[in-house]
Structure formats: structure tokens, C-alpha cells
Symmetry: D2
Subunit: 359 residues, 4 copies
């Protein structure tokens, strides 16, 4: 089921980095949702390469075509197929990879799994696979906003160990995040992060980072109590993204150092019901949303493909210096912000529909 | 699909903390596996309460009965149903919870989701639900060991901010882990962790911790490249455990602070194929195992149920002091070690079968 | 996924004919449903063997125990585990089967699939596996009746080519069906069917039959329009029953002989909306319920296990005369009536929840 | 999950009859399969409209584009996305349907389910949805042939009550089937069937029929023994096709009239193992293939859309005469032959991979 995600709100992605195109089929989106191509295109534009000095120079217009599921600007309730054609493929860039697998990239494991060595820039392990996720997630986010009043905002919290950004999860907006090319909305920190990225790039190197995300407006009751806890689905979604190494909900690893009396979120009266005075739980208790913002963080490693030479064994076992060509991001987190939001939206839309089924 | 986990090797768990019993149905275990009740009982004994000063005094023999799927000591290939009867229920212990939800526990969210307030100690949100996971995971682990040569060992790495334990992931054994009641195999650290737990308990409080896990002997090629990456399935599995707040594969959040040239795992010749000189990847590349040990860490919050009074609102919105009765662990990580191993085994057995299908 | 059926309302069955017991786990049943053991026991009693001259003399009380998911007579929304212990196992009855597979039984294919020859009466291929289906389906039917006003009634329409019974699908009741041991509510026909069964039994032989079923009270809108059409899910469910050879919805094979002008169901005004003047569609159009009764038929072959000798090859390829011992039904259709109803209920409950998710 | 079919070999279809295009994503096809566009195009050409006097005059070239998953003529193991653009849409043809739902068509139920009335010829309920099935099934069939030696051949057995065709299931070929425009390979019968179709068309009417199918070359062991029996998956697949009303495996409904001694398939020695002397079982026992040809039949009703006027109620409940415009097949069975084969291939490829996973 590798290329399908979700139970009731489902996305299936397809496409190789250097084939004809990439895309997705979204199945399970309710009917009668107003949906225009721009609702999807906006998010693809936020994700696409060639957005400036901090990203890969690969140029892709990434224009989405809606192939099905929408008529007269409204969803039909049928599968929505989305296609983005690849324009700027250069498979030749990867010729040197025929002899040696890139360290910490999927070249070697893909070969071991499928018995083939793709000459096309890593196939599905490419970040280009996430085009389909962003397109599908844009529809999920649009439905969550329209039908449920849920907003999802992610931002860059750290790059190369710098940070964390000081951000108010209760009020941060996508506009504020997009205002800086790093997508770090902490003005004090953002320029330092940009410098860390350009410095790595200047060295033919790359650098990792952390993205934080807040989902606001969920009612209490979303998430299934055993294997499909809300945080479990989010962790699954986030660790399925290329280059991710960690996930935290609420207090995360820091919470493991505390005592219960320090960590517990006391209940308080709110809006005729209950809220919590603090939110170390990250908006979930027992795997079910409690009405507070769902807050989580995702760690991204530095991109594996770097220009500077690395000493590594080829497929023949002989050590050599490998310097990757191709066009690559020195740091993925600025462009990964809409991808994290998209995956969060897919998780929440799915859990929302499952909870709806209880009537 | 909340109570079922896995695609081809599947476990379905059932049972409330204070009902007749708990258990699991394991479907998809290959036939002709030698399987004795002791293979399951051994792991249940490692998980069960009443194991000493560091755990809840609730006494449960937790004797497993195999109801189906095994004949003459061999699996039939049919569903293996496992039942553990509850013996020491005391629903009355929870009477005071009828008025106020415990902070950071699932009382409130379960009520919001299902429209009911269970008088029975939290229902499925209880750690007792994990009996079924451990029983099912024991079968998965047994098959992985017998059929694939895979060993899974977890241990306590931190408690209350103390640690991390210094442990060699390549050689650590379950016996070495079980030698200390904390299940921390770092002799220098283990007694300090035990003291942290008993100190919290003496204060009517609880404390969190971190478990590390190593899975050794996987061939390259397990894990699906897009949504069902090996680390995504592990993250899903681990964040589905009660009280978990974070997951890291390999370098985790620390890896996000590094540059690519520092983080990449160079390939080296090994055993006629390729290995890696370091293992910051945690045994996966592009979501697929690379033949190195799969290493990950899981953060557990301090248990929410504590004896000391907490100021919190009741269902009526009025603040009061809530002091929980019942019998509870001051720290879950020692008992959670076999649970983490069980969930890892369920993930790996499933991915192993999926990869086998490729022939 | 062989032993799990359903997406949102799911049943997982377990148990061998001659092991400790059989049962089911029902996951996804909404909370707050009043449910007493008798609601399940009633259907098990209708299915159980030893009900008289027309069925196997095997004696099984088939007492169900609810292990989880119900508290104070109401469902919790958690998995409902159900256990029926086997009492009257006699694996020795099957000793002669070690040398030769029974013709048209699963002995040979189970061996080819799993690499083993079960000494226990056919393992999961036994009709005893259906205990779990009936138990789970009883809960689904109870929910459909209570929450949706849906009634499901099946009856025996043919035995051994005699029939079809003349029955009004709009008004037939379970009580009327159960009034005759054949479960054929056509008084003219029922005695002839009983004689066909006893005659077959007297000859050491068996005989096949056809069951018809009507599901009344569905609203328009249940069923998914492409792969999970209502009739596709019903066909899947029915052909998953032991001994079934065919399925028809509405007009079935007879409809294939007609012209469109003869077959189409014209719309008429009804209850402020639309109904159809005839019901050759069997209550579905485009895979979606249209508000008319859903009517279908299922063909059951004669039971494969017969007392009289059959000339057939053993595992060694040598022809011999095989006369089966054991205790077997000469005709399955009377006992299969509640099984057909149970599977129909599982399908409808699942599709009802999926449609509810659309809000 | 309506638009996805299969567990390990999965197809997701998309597209409306009168939108930009239709297609499918095939996930789970093993890597290294030689696959050329013609392998898919050939089957689309067999399915496409405009093939002569017996089919709808709608003209569609139905050229398939492979968007992903194939490189240098070999599958990559990644999702294979397939797109067929619609060319000859004429939504205006359906203007009269805004006032009244066509009898026995999905107009009414789609409206009840989704809350909308599609102006586009029925949306997903159109036979045009099957383009994606045929494209996906062509890949499955190609893999089954190449990797497993399995051949699937379907043919028209009856039209309008005429037949059945006399055909040898063991030897019939696709070429022989395609030799006559009716796809009935019984030369005696084929012309009569063609006349029945043209007569219905001349009357502004339509006519139903029956398709038979044989799957040859399966080893023993495919199919799961409880809910996912081979015949259950086939029944699900076939009843998910538009206009189907019934399914039979092997002896089918006729088998229900027999006694066990007449119906059982005796074993005989064959090729060093066992075969059966007869094949009333249709190649399955206990839901698992036994090595004999899998034979089944599918009933198709007469197409609901007919040119001649029908007296039926409009959405307003008022009776009127409805005469459908648009371009429609007078009989679907000739064009449905490759669709039945495609669905059978999807079922078998999936069950083959599941059985492979057992090692």
C-alpha cells in the first residue's frame, strides 16, 4: 500500500522525478466542495523548486491539471486526479551515479529492493514525489478549512542547530511564515538561518533543520484510541516524508525528563466546556484530540546529495571520491513547510471523516 | 481500523482494563512455525504488573490461552487468538473519577468521542490494552527470529532526564537488559534511574523516560518507499503506544543540527556487498532497510495518573483538588521495553512478508 | 486480510473446528448501543448444529461469552470480542482423511497452500468458522435495526432443484421463516424440501439449495459507486461462505435474457420522493441503494462430505473408495439462513457507516 | 475505498465520462516486467466504443499514455499511472436528464448519495469508468502471463436468452473470441446473437447477456480461506462492473440442484500430483485454487439507457415519457469481455502476490 495514504480520505501518488510527470489521485473528498485549480496551485507554488537562492535551481512551473472529480468548480465526490508534468528533467546529470550509490541516499536500497538501478535521479525517493502529496493535501486542507474551520500552519524552527524560533502557535499565519525565504517567522532568527543555508551551499554542503506545526480549530474527538491515535497517524505521515529523522507531539522528548505533576495539563472551564491551562499534551489525550491546538515538530536531516566529494565505496566495493552533480537543495526545510502542512491535512481530514461516521 | 495493525501480518487487540479479559487475534502468521505457549508467556511475564517496587502493585498472573491457530505445537497459518483473563479488577478504585477527568489522561477525550464516561479505569486507554500487543508481537518476534534471523532488543536509555545509557546497539541482549529492574543495561546509570523512580513514587508523583531499540539481522530491502517507509511504520507503531511523545530514527533531532558531510553514512565493502561505516541513518535509506541495525528511540511522558492532588476542573467546570486512587506505575519505561519490542516486531514481520511477495 | 471483513464496521473471526473454540472480534460498532448476550445468542441458536433431523447430530451448546466492548449492557465503542468454546470435538473421526483428500472439500487445497494436513476436520474450511460470522453479524443486525430501521430476512427458496418458494419479500419475517425446520416459509413447498433432505441423508448423500434474502428499510445512498458497489460487497460476502457457488442481485441471470424496456424499473412518486414501480434492480442502481428492498439469492452446493463411498485418488495418487465418517449436514441451507443474514448485516452496517462519514 | 481495488496489486481508477480524461494508477506491480504501451493499448482497443454496428457510435481513440512507473520498457516497481483523454464528449446530449432520472440508471441514486445531479452523462456510473480497469488489468494480465504462466479468456455465452455457447474452456483463445463481432466463439450461435442485438437496437431497445471466463495455469494455493476466497474476490470484482446482476463459479446455481455424489469432483493422479476428473468446483475448493481452470460466469442486464420512450416519474414526481438521447450500446457483453478479463486479472495478480508472501 506504499503509494496510498488514508482510509476514507485517501491520496495515491505517482511519478518519477525524471519521467513524464508526477501527481496524485484523491479519493473520498466529500462532494459539493468549492474547489478551483488555484486552491491547489497556491500550495504547489509554495513547494516548487527555483524559488530563490535558498533552493535548488531546477526550474519547474509545476502547473497542475485537474483531470477528474471536479465539475463547474465543485467536487463531485469522485476521485480527483491531479497531474503535474515534469519539464526540466536532466537524467544525464546522474550518469556518475551508475557506479556508486550516494551515501545516505536511496540508490543502494532501491537497487536491493527492486533489483534495478534507476538512471533517473532516484525515482520515487526524490523529493519530487512530494508534489502529489502537496496537491492532495491542498484539497484536504481546503476541505478542513471550509467544512470544519481547521487551520494548519507550519514553520521553520531550527536550521543547523540554530534556534528554536520563538513563535506563538495560537496565532501564527501562513502569510507571516512565507514572509521570509527561510519560512522562519522569528525575525530575530530568520536571517541567521538563511546565512547557515547559504554558507553550507557555498561549501558544497547541506544542512538539516526542524519544522514545527500547529493545527487549530479541531473539535475534541478526532483520532482513534488504539493503533490509529492522532499522534500515531501524524508520526506515520511525517516519517514518510523524505529526509525526516524524528517526530514529537507536544512536549516530545523534553517531556520525558519531567515529572507528572510538572507535565500534566490541568483542565479549566472554557466556552461552556473544558480546555486545558497548558498544552504539553500537544492537543491529544489517549490519541484523541482534546480541542486544544495540535502541535508537533519534525526533524529533517541535511540532504544526502552534496556537491563536495565524499569518500565512499562503489557498487564494486572499491572506495572512490564521489561528488554529485544534479541540482539540489542545500536545506529542505523552507520548501518542506507546505509538505508538512499537506501531510497533516491528509491525516486530519481522514480522522475527521472517520469520526463523522460515528454520527 | 483502530484496533487492527498491519497489512499481511496483522494483529487485532481487544479488551478493557476492568472487563473479563484482554487479548489479540494474530492473522497472517505463516504456517509451520513451531510455537509454544511459553514463547508468548515469556514476553507477557516481562510486561506484567506486580514485578517489584518500581511498578504498580496490581497483581495479574496474565496467563495466556491460545484459542486457535496452533495445533500440535505448530502454527496452522490461520488466525491465532490469544486470551488473557483479568483477575484483579477493582473498578471501585475509580469512583472519584466520575466527577472530574484526570489531567492529561483520556477520560475527557473518550467521553467527547464516544459520548460515555467509562467507570472502568479508562477502558482502552489503559496500559492494559498492551497485553494484546505484547502477545501478538511475541509471535511476530518468534517468527522473525526463526525464519529471518532478526533480533530485536530494547532498553531504558533515560529516566527523568538522567542518561543516556551507554549501550552497544550491536551486541546488547535481552538478558542483559532484564538483569536490572529498571531495564537499563548501563550499570553505572541503572541505580540512579531506579532512585529517580522511587523518589517520584515517594512524592506521589511519576516520571518520564526514553527507550532505545535496535533491530539486527534485517536484510536490505524491507520497507516501502513512499508512505509505508520502514521508519514511518515504526513511528506509527511507537506513537500508538500509550504515553509516547516522540520518535527518532538513527540520528533523530540531533541529526537536524548537522551538515550533510557530517551526517552521511559512507559505504564500505562488507560481506561481498556494501555496508556503511557509520549508522546515522538508523539502518534505513529512502524508507528501506540497508542491512545495518535499525535503531530508534521513543520518548514516554510521566504517567498522567498520580496520587498527589492536582488542581483541575471537573466536568462541571469547577476547580477542585483531584488525587487519583487506583494502582499505577510511577514510571512506564521499564515495563514498556517488551511493548516497544513487540510493536517493532509487528512492523518488521509485516514488511518482511510484503517484501517476500515481490518474490 | 483473509480473516477480517469490513472497513469501518469490521469483524475478524478465528477458530478451528476442533480446537479450543471459535469466535470473533467486532471493531467499529458505535458506542451506546444497548446490547445483551441474548441478542447474539439468539442467532447462534438459529445456526447451531443438533437442531433436529435435518442437521448434523454434532451437539454444541454454542454459548457465547462477551469478553470485551460491552459494559452495563451498552457498547463502549471498543472492540467486542466474542468467544464460543468447542465442546463436542472428535478429531478422531477424521483419521481416515490422512490418506486421501475428500473430493470437493478443502483438504487438498489447504495442504497445497499451507504445507500441512490438518487432522482436525478441515480447520478454517469447516462450517464451524461461521460461528464468528453469525456472532458478529448479530451485532451488526442489532445496530441496523436499532439505529437505522433496517430489517434483514433470509429464507430457503430451493432444495435439490425443488422450488422456488413463493414468498413476499416485502413482508416475510424471521418468525415465519423459522416456523418450519427447513426454513422455507412456503407451506406448500416446505415439506417437499424436508423430504428431499431426508432422502439424501438416507442415501448417505447430500443435496444443495438456494437461499433468498431481503433487506428492507435502507435509505437511498448506501454503497460506493465503483469497486465497492452494494451488490459487489454482498457478492463478496456471500461467496466467502463455505459451499456457495453463485450470487444474484434482483433479476440476476434471468435479467440477462430480457430487453431494457422489459427490465427497467420505472420511477413513481412515493412518500414525497421517488420509488420504483418494479424492483428488478434488487434495490440498487449504480451500486447504490435506491430505497427499495435489497433482494438477492445465493446458491449452495451439496455438502462435499458424504457418507457413501466415492472413488477418488489418495495423496499417493492411487484410486480408492472413500467414505467419510464424522457428523455432517445433508443440506446446509436451513442452517445457512442466519449466516446469510449475518453477512448481509455486516455489509450493510459497514456501508451505512461509510455513507455517514459524508455527513 | 471505492475507487481502489486490491491489496498488494492495486488499481485506483479515476475519471468522468465527460471530463478531461479517465485512467488508473496501478501500484504493486513487481519491477523488471517488460511492459510496452501496446500491451495496454491492445486491451483498450478491444474495449473501446465505435467498433462497429453492435456498439455505441461514440468515437474514442482511447490512446493510453504511461505517466510513470516504466523506464526503458521495464517496470520500476513504482506506481504506473495511465491516462486516456476523452475526445468525443457531448454533455449536451444529456440535457433532458436534468428533469427526470433514467429508470434503472444511477442518476437518482448518485443524486441521493452526493447531493448533486451531474450534467455529464452519469459521472462514474458510466461504462467509461472501465477504461481504467482495462488499462490496469492489462498490466496484471501481462504479469500473470509472463511471471506465472496464467492465461485468462472470456467470451459471450448468451445474449437475450439465446445460448449458451458451446465452448471448450480448456482451449479457447482470445483470438478465437475476437473473430466474431459478438465475441461469441460458437459459430453456430454467434450470428443469432448479433441479430438479437441489432433487432433490439432497431427497436430503440437494449438486450442483456452472459459472459463466461476461464483462467488457466494457476497453481494450487491461490486464494485466502475465509473472507477473501478466490471466488469471493472474483464475485466482488464482477459485481462491481456496471450492469452486472449475477455471478457463478463452476456449477453455479445449477449445482444447487444436485446431490453431493453427483457434484463432487473426484481426485485423479495428474502430473505427479492430483487433479480432478470433473470441474464442477470451478477450480476452487475452500476458496483456494486447486490447479484446475477457474471458470465463472457473469450476468449483464440490458443497458438501462434506451432510445424508446419510457413512462417514468421526474424528480418532481410527475409521470412523463422519457426517451434518452446520447449514444449507447444496445448490448454491453461484446465490449465487456475484455473488462471481465481485466478484473479477473486484477484479482488473480493480487492473490498470487499474497500467496507469494508466504514464501
Amino acid at each position: 500500500m506504499s503509494s496510498t495514504f488514508g482510509r476514507l480520505f485517501r491520496v495515491t501518488t505517482f511519478g518519477e522525478s525524471h519521467g513524464p510527470g508526477v501527481g496524485a489521485v484523491v479519493d473520498g473528498c466529500p462532494s459539493l466542495l468549492d474547489l478551483a485549480p488555484v486552491d491547489i496551485q497556491r500550495e504547489l507554488d509554495r513547494r516548487r523548486p527555483g524559488q530563490g537562492a535558498l533552493a535548488t535551481p531546477r526550474q519547474e512551473a509545476d502547473q497542475v491539471e485537474i483531470l477528474s472529480g471536479v465539475e463547474d468548480g465543485r467536487t463531485l465526490g469522485t476521485p480527483i486526479a491531479l497531474l503535474v508534468r515534469n519539464r526540466d528533467q536532466r537524467p544525464g546529470d546522474y550518469a556518475e551515479l551508475a557506479e556508486a550509490p550516494r551515501p545516505s541516499h536511496a540508490d543502494y536500497t532501491v537497487q536491493q529492493k527492486y533489483g534495478l538501478r534507476s538512471a533517473s535521479g532516484g525515482g520515487r525517493a526524490s523529493a519530487r514525489e512530494t508534489v502529489g502529496r502537496v496537491a492532495g493535501g491542498a484539497i484536504a486542507a481546503h476541505w478542513l478549512r471550509s467544512a470544519c474551520g481547521v487551520e494548519i500552519v507550519a514553520w521553520v524552527e531550527q536550521v543547523g542547530g540554530l534556534g528554536p524560533a520563538q513563535v506563538d502557535a495560537a496565532t501564527i499565519t501562513r502569510a507571516a511564515v512565507d514572509a521570509h525565504p527561510t519560512r522562519c517567522p522569528d525575525a530575530q532568527l530568520a536571517d541567521a538561518l538563511a546565512q547557515a543555508i547559504t554558507a553550507a551551499q557555498a561549501d558544497g554542503d547541506s544542512v538539516g533543520g526542524v519544522i514545527a506545526c500547529a493545527c487549530r480549530g479541531l473539535p475534541a474527538g478526532w483520532g482513534e484510541p488504539v493503533f490509529d491515535k492522532l499522534e500515531a497517524m501524524l508520526a506515520h505521515a511525517m516519517l514518510s516524508l523524505p529526509a525526516t529523522k524524528g517526530f514529537e507531539i507536544g512536549s516530545g522528548f523534553a517531556g520525558a525528563a519531567l515529572r507528572g505533576s510538572e507535565h500534566n495539563d490541568a483542565f479549566v472551564a472554557r466556552d461552556g466546556g473544558l480546555g486545558t491551562a497548558t498544552n504539553r499534551s500537544g492537543g491529544v489525550q489517549g490519541g484523541i484530540s482534546n480541542g486544544e491546538p495540535v502541535t508537533f515538530r519534525v526533524a529533517f536531516k541535511p540532504p544526502a546529495t552534496i556537491a563536495r566529494a565524499q569518500r565512499t565505496a562503489g557498487y564494486d566495493g572499491v572506495l572512490r571520491d564521489l561528488a554529485a552533480g544534479g541540482r539540489h537543495d542545500p536545506c529542505v526545510v523552507p520548501r518542506a513547510v507546505p509538505i508538512v502542512e499537506a501531510m497533516a491535512a491528509l491525516v486530519l481530514a481522514d480522522l475527521a471523516l472517520i469520526q463523522r461516521a460515528r454520527g
